[in-house]
Symmetry: C2
Subunit: 79 residues, 2 copies
């Protein structure tokens, strides 16, 4: 079973990496880009076959390791 976790900075937290991308896009002539936020995506290959258990397990992983929940939010997708 595969799980995909999206980790993004929370709204209101400065995202210098995203800003750098926005400036670079502008310098390359791409107009009409009003905002850019950059985050991480982590794809996990799990031995667990029960979707609910897998999701609970991945949530635990996010809280303990994958995300810094003070400044980052995460969403879990079981695929």
């Amino acid at each position: 079973m595969k799980a995909r976790v999206h980790i993004m900075l929370k709204n209101g937290v400065l995202d210098p990496q995203g800003d750098a991308v926005r400036h670079a896009l502008g310098a390359l002539g791409f107009d009409g880009v009003d905002g850019v936020r950059q985050g991480k995506v982590i794809e996990l290959d799990l031995a667990e076959t029960d979707a609910a258990k897998a999701e609970a397990n991945v949530k635990d992983m996010c809280e303990k390791l994958l995300a810094n929940t003070v400044i980052e939010s995460y969403t879990i997708e079981i695929v």
Copy 2:
């Protein structure tokens, strides 16, 4: 209009960051994680209102700046 771009290392390209996460999960007692791949997600806020044009535009951005197409693959999602 918002676009979300997922950028992952292609299969066969070593992913040390993903391996580091896998080892750390193992050290924390999370068993049954067979593989981890880490990638980037970029959320773009676009002024363009036509979905097809926006997608073509974002594809161009990926080819020129966002992804290193030699080792990375990308998927575009218009939301």
